[in-house]
Amino acid sequence: MQRIGVFVCHCGSNIAATVDVKKVVEVIAAEPGVVHAEDYQYMCSEAGQEKIAIAVKEKKLTGIVVCSCSPRMHEATFRKAAERAGINPYMVEIANIREHVSWIHKDITEATEKAVILARAAVAKVNLNTPLTPGESRVTKRALVIGGGIAGIQTALDIADAGYEVDIVEKTPSIGGRMSQIDKTFPTLDCSACILTPKMVEAAAHEKITIYTYSEVEKVSGFVGDFTVDIRKKARYVDADKCTGCGACQEKCPSKKTPSEFNRALNTRTAIYTPFAQAIPNVPVIDTEACIKFKTGKCGLCQKICAAGAVDYTQKDEIVTEKYGAIVVATGFDTISLDKYDEYAYNQSPDVITSLELERVMNAAGPTHGHLERLSDGKAPKEIVFIQCVGSRCSDDRGKPYCSKICCMYTAKHAMLIRDKYPDVNVTVFYIDVRTPGKNFDEFYRRAVEQYGVNYVKGQVGKVIPQPNGKLLVQGSDLLDNKQILKEADMVVLATAIEPNKDVRKIATMLTASIDTNNFLTEAHAKLRPVESPTAGIFLSGVVQGPKDIPETVSQAGAAAVKVVGLLAKDKLLTNPCTAKADELLCNGCSSCANVCPYGAISYEDTLVNDHGIRETRRIAIVNSALCQGCGACTVACPSGAMDLQGFSNRQILSEVDAICR
């Protein structure tokens, strides 16, 4: 039995005006376990807290009930007061007699009665409280960034600049990501490569950053502060230490028919290749699917030509195991498949392209060397139609229900660039809404219309029909004129919806990070914790969390870095002691609890138990208190009651129920 002290606060007249505080003290003093009860004007004041300290000392209290305002207001205050007085902070319970009593009830008898009942419930609970101590876990001062696009690079740079080691894992042969494919950026129209490549170089050169390209995360275990990750370094068949990046191998390679991933398959590449000229590292990889040597055993030209002797056909995949304190997911996006959008004739005509493909067409390093031309016949287009919201804001299963956010702006950019460079080309944009929130965004769009004469049509395109003459007949509606428009275009550009990278679901599973139905990772709080995953130690950077443009991505990447740095700066983590705990004598090892745990905090171990003389090895649930956030989902999933939540135990809650219902 505890020795409980009850402290009833007047809160000036906030409580005392509607609750007979003296009466509460009198009634509660007679409760079993209560050895001290008093009231005071303001319990949260220094003098009030002092009263608690004195009572703890004089009455040898082991538990404290404060009848006051909401625990959300002052629970922490009174816990600290208890700790200073020498008792465990978790031996404190609050009876909320202000927000839940005095402020909502007018009748004093009724309010007093309710205050007594709430106090009784708190007393009943404290009777079953046990001292709890926050756990500690160590922090490995190294971060992992998954994805080497602008989001990943920026996060890594910011973390590294703060003085912590960072590893970047990038799936493709080079870092750079989508931004490296983009020609110009809105709303300033500066060259994407010009602002990205210095960052890539900086990352590669940074002494705190290690880059694993052509690599994938294979396995993740552990928890916040102490993750262990296996990284698979895929065989490049080129020794990075020897390669000078001269490019001779690529020139000689006879296998030249593979569609270039970097150029969105608008042209081809060789079997041994670097995705683009500024690739980092500037070390080619061999695509074994395309390589004649790997397919037939004959060839070996690249090896012969390589003066550095870097080509090594015997290279094997390598697994690197590394420990991290925090993990940032920055896996980015891709455009959706247009296979279900037959009406836009994307698969029928090479002159119907996506906006990302247009970026490559417009880029000097792209398949047309930056000349705007039709991919079917190389002719310069005279009439270009842009179609917005292709697959975005779509409630059927062909597209995505969300707005892809970046399309309005890049379409304005494309339209403007074309009109600027080729004033004789007519540009028509079919739109549903033009969305331009952002600094200088709407001004940018208006310039496209006002200064560059881009023809914006409010309406959607119903179908694109390739004509025998090579033209594309675009049938759309102009809702403002209430007309149907038929337009012969030379080129159609689709603002295709973006979606998270296909691999993200696999990664989310490995990280036990929650993911929504659209495959975006869920943030811990939509407003207040937008760069953290609900899973402790996992952070989100870039489009993996939701559609974003470059400036937003960069700022979020920085924010994620700050969160990581904040975590790595700690030597030890204090963990919330109100975590779940399994009673090993009751546990069945059935996995029900692990199935409902949102944090992957529960694992199973074969444990030797001594059950009243019976010794046997049993599969027992083990809760990792560093991961557990204390929601209690597991406690209800557990049929035997083995799983219980410290601080909100089954017996504690039942005792509150009993106290209220008596």
Binding site: R393, I432, V461, G462, S477, D478, N482, Q484
Partner: protein
């Protein structure tokens, strides 16, 4: 011709669509082969229902110009199905005239030599449920 249930509600009920889902993209009108024949355009059907102005929709030319090709239904990104809405409006007229559907025996005598095959097909499509 309004008794009991409000007509807009009837249209919603018969068509099984929710016009409020419309985001006014106009893809229905963009895709409609009978657009030029219509006085009220497919994308407008929705607002007539939303604004409870079914009476006018029922009186419109469009009611009988729609081919029920269902291109708008196929292409609508918001699952609003203007084709079903106009079909529902037609239903109101048919029901008002006392019938619900034609019976199979009635069809032959109604057949016109010059009636295009396409209309027959679309009629079947329209009335199959």
């Amino acid at each position: 011709m309004s008794h009991g249930k409000n007509q807009a509600e009837l249209v919603r009920e018969i068509s099984g669509t929710n016009p409020l889902k419309c985001m006014k993209c106009g893809k229905c009108s963009a895709t409609c082969p009978a657009f030029n024949e219509m006085d009220i355009k497919p994308h407008q059907f929705v607002s007539y229902v939303v604004n409870n102005n079914v009476e006018e929709l029922v009186k419109s030319e469009s009611l009988w110009k729609c081919l029920s090709c269902f291109a708008c239904v196929e292409r609508c990104p918001r699952d609003v199905k203007p084709g079903k809405i106009i079909d529902a409006a037609r239903q109101l007229v048919v029901r008002e005239r006392g019938g619900n559907y034609l019976t199979a025996d009635e069809i032959p005598e109604l057949l016109d030599e010059e009636m295009p095959q396409q209309l027959l097909v679309s009629a079947y499509r329209r009335y199959k449920r």
